[in-house]
């Protein structure tokens, strides 16, 4: 089944908000070589002016990929995940994520276009906090490789 180009313009919301914990920030920091104390120690973070420990720069991808999954796994999208290759990624920040944030996410399918046998898809996931204020925009492009059929 080919990628469904009619999904361009569709939106998919995360079913429940994601609650950012100190533990999740510490685990992500350890796994990605982010060694600075403000990822682990609330006092170090407050000394920099933050409410609690600060997430590493790309932490938002956890939430963005959960939200994108609602689109990618929708049978109507026509996406075979085993043929997906990640093309590019961009984070545009209003502010950093900190522990205690309760983040909602909506993924917008900004572009679905055929490129020969492949399809190139651009999604834009907007993360907002409990006060409905913007936090970060995550833009992702994926290529769904064709199977030549």
């Amino acid at each position: 089944m080919p990628v469904n180009t009619e999904k361009q313009g569709a939106s998919f919301a995360l079913p429940q908000p994601y609650e950012v914990s100190r533990e999740a920030i510490a685990e992500f920091a350890l796994a990605t070589g982010a060694k600075a104390d403000y990822h682990f120690d609330a006092e170090a973070a407050t000394a920099l002016g933050y409410r609690d420990v600060v997430a590493p720069t790309t932490f938002a991808v956890i939430i963005a990929q959960k939200s994108e999954a609602a689109y990618i796994t929708d049978p109507e999208s026509g996406i075979d995940f085993s043929k997906v290759v990640h093309g590019s990624e961009q984070f545009s920040f209003t502010r950093p994520i900190v522990a205690g944030d309760v983040l909602s996410a909506v993924t917008h399918v900004d572009g679905v276009r055929a490129a020969g046998d492949n399809a190139m898809i651009t999604t834009r996931t907007e993360l907002t906090d409990a006060a409905e204020q913007p936090v970060v925009t995550v833009t992702s492009t994926i290529v769904v490789r064709g199977d030549g059929e």
Binding site: F28, A31, G33, A34, A36, T57, V85, Q90, F91, F93
Partner: protein, 147 residues
């Protein structure tokens, strides 16, 4: 917020250089922390069945590992307003031949240079090259920073 003095940044200056080792254990740790459990990042047979030359690192692990030393240089994660990259080549991460799976078998070499600076406004663009061996594994990697 950042302790960086923008008036001291000069276009072309290298501000961060780092070598980041990767092992099979790195990929498992990232899968657990990120929730990305795609088997191409941990199962050799599956990776080969889908046409890869073996297990590869998550592109997002490379992206995350590259920004960490740059944030350390900046001194404040809030100084980053935008971070973008393209995944131009897969990073193969072979299993270590013996011993612990945390033994590094490949690495990312990053060089971050000043691409643009506006000292009056307090903004700059840092351009980053990321190589494994001679191959650019990330491309058009840019970090926008602001005071």
């Amino acid at each position: 917020m950042s302790p960086i003095d923008f008036s001291q940044l000069t276009i072309g200056d290298t501000v961060v250089e780092a070598e980041i080792p990767l092992s099979r254990a790195s990929l498992i740790d990232y899968a657990a922390a990120s929730g990305d459990h795609n088997p191409i990042h941990w199962n050799e047979r599956f990776a080969r069945e889908v046409g890869l030359d073996g297990v590869i690192a998550h592109g997002m692990l490379s992206m995350a590992a590259v920004i960490a030393p740059i944030v350390e240089w900046l001194g404040d994660p809030g100084a980053i307003s935008d971070y973008r990259t393209r995944f131009s080549a897969p990073v193969l991460v072979p299993d270590a031949e013996s011993g612990t799976p945390a033994t590094p078998t490949t690495s990312l070499a990053l060089t971050a240079t000043v691409g643009a600076v506006d000292a009056a406004v307090g903004t700059a663009r840092i351009d980053v090259t990321v190589k494994t061996g001679e191959t650019d594994v990330l491309s058009r990697t840019q970090v926008r920073i602001s005071r």
